[in-house]
Amino acid sequence: MKNKGNATVWFAAGFIVIATVVVIIAAVVSSGSLNNNPDGTAPAPAIAADDWVRGSRDAKVTLIEYGDYQCPACATYEGLLSDVLPNYEGEVLFVFRNFPLYTIHPNAGISAQAAEAAGLQGKFWEMHDMLYEKQQEWSLTPTNRVVADNFDSYARILGLDLDKFHEDMNSDQVLRKIKGEVDGANAIGVGRTPTFYVNLQQIQNPANAAEFKAILDNALEPA
């Protein structure tokens, strides 16, 4: 009788463990299958009127970055781009689109909102640069304090209207724009940050400034 009871306990425990594993695998597989284009061959959406751009919209070559302000690699590439892009004034249009990695970077979403809100006061690129420059300072601040503890001081340095900045950060306009960019990125299978597109085609991330220049030079060459 006792043995039968023990067997039931072991059977139940084993069943619970196996059921848990099956449910988890099913959940992970279904979430993983959301990536439509893992090989990155789909072209990026064309440059839109509400895209933040650096350079002339008439430039021959477009360089789109899907980035996350809390991503250390994106901050590294920000430095690389500030060395490379000044060599291509008028020739290359740089576009930044948000792709916050919400699951691994708790402040990715709110920082994207801060940059967009600054943009509504004409200071997108200033905030964009500041967020990357000061990434180490705000990355580990708890999300519920990061605006008050960090972003407000950046907004003050940039001379933003703080009330409007706060209001815009959570406005429909800003949230919709970020969501649109994330949805667009998911649709073309952006799987990491930063991901770059030259003339709407995904490129392998260059290892250094020289490689970046080579890619842009190549794109600028007459076909």
Partner: protein, 151 residues
């Protein structure tokens, strides 16, 4: 089940081990199956996320975690289903979770100071290990005290 078993301590130990297992199993499944969303310096290379710390050789840390929680869970079931008190099994869970706690402290340190990115599921696991260590210590001390009492 021994009649004088400290049930609340055992129950909590089994629950924390199970929750830790579910969490670590999710991370393991994610490692093997899901499309990763890394923040990476070079394409296809998860340098910045935690790949260099997320595996020990070819084995993901999450899988080691899942096996450790599973062992703790089955040890708890073993204590529950045994007819005599198994103090050594309770001590084994305590020892395992003590090692787990040391590993968790290191992994949390890595997240805050080295990788500078927080993974919620990893923090949940660290919390479960702390709770498991506390509950199994409680269980082990209650069981060993009872074992010393005259029957």
């Amino acid at each position: 089940m021994p009649s004088n078993l400290p049930k609340p301590a055992l129950f909590l130990t089994a629950i924390f081990a199970f929750l830790g297992f579910a969490d670590a199993a999710y991370l393991t499944a994610d490692h093997y199956l899901a499309v990763p969303l890394p923040c990476s310096l070079t394409q296809g290379c998860d340098v910045v996320l935690n790949s260099q710390y997320a595996t020990v050789g070819p084995v993901p840390v999450a899988l080691l975690g899942a096996l450790y929680y599973l062992a703790a869970f089955f040890l708890a079931i073993y204590i529950f289903s045994s007819e005599s008190p198994k103090v050594s099994a309770a001590r084994a869970i305590q020892g395992l979770s003590g090692l787990g706690l040391l590993a968790s402290v290191y992994l949390v340190y890595l997240q805050f100071e080295i990788i500078r990115a927080l993974c919620m599921y990893c923090l949940i696991s660290a919390t479960m290990t702390l709770l498991l260590f506390l509950s199994s210590s409680w269980l082990a001390s209650r069981m060993s005290r009872q074992a010393k009492l005259p029957a």
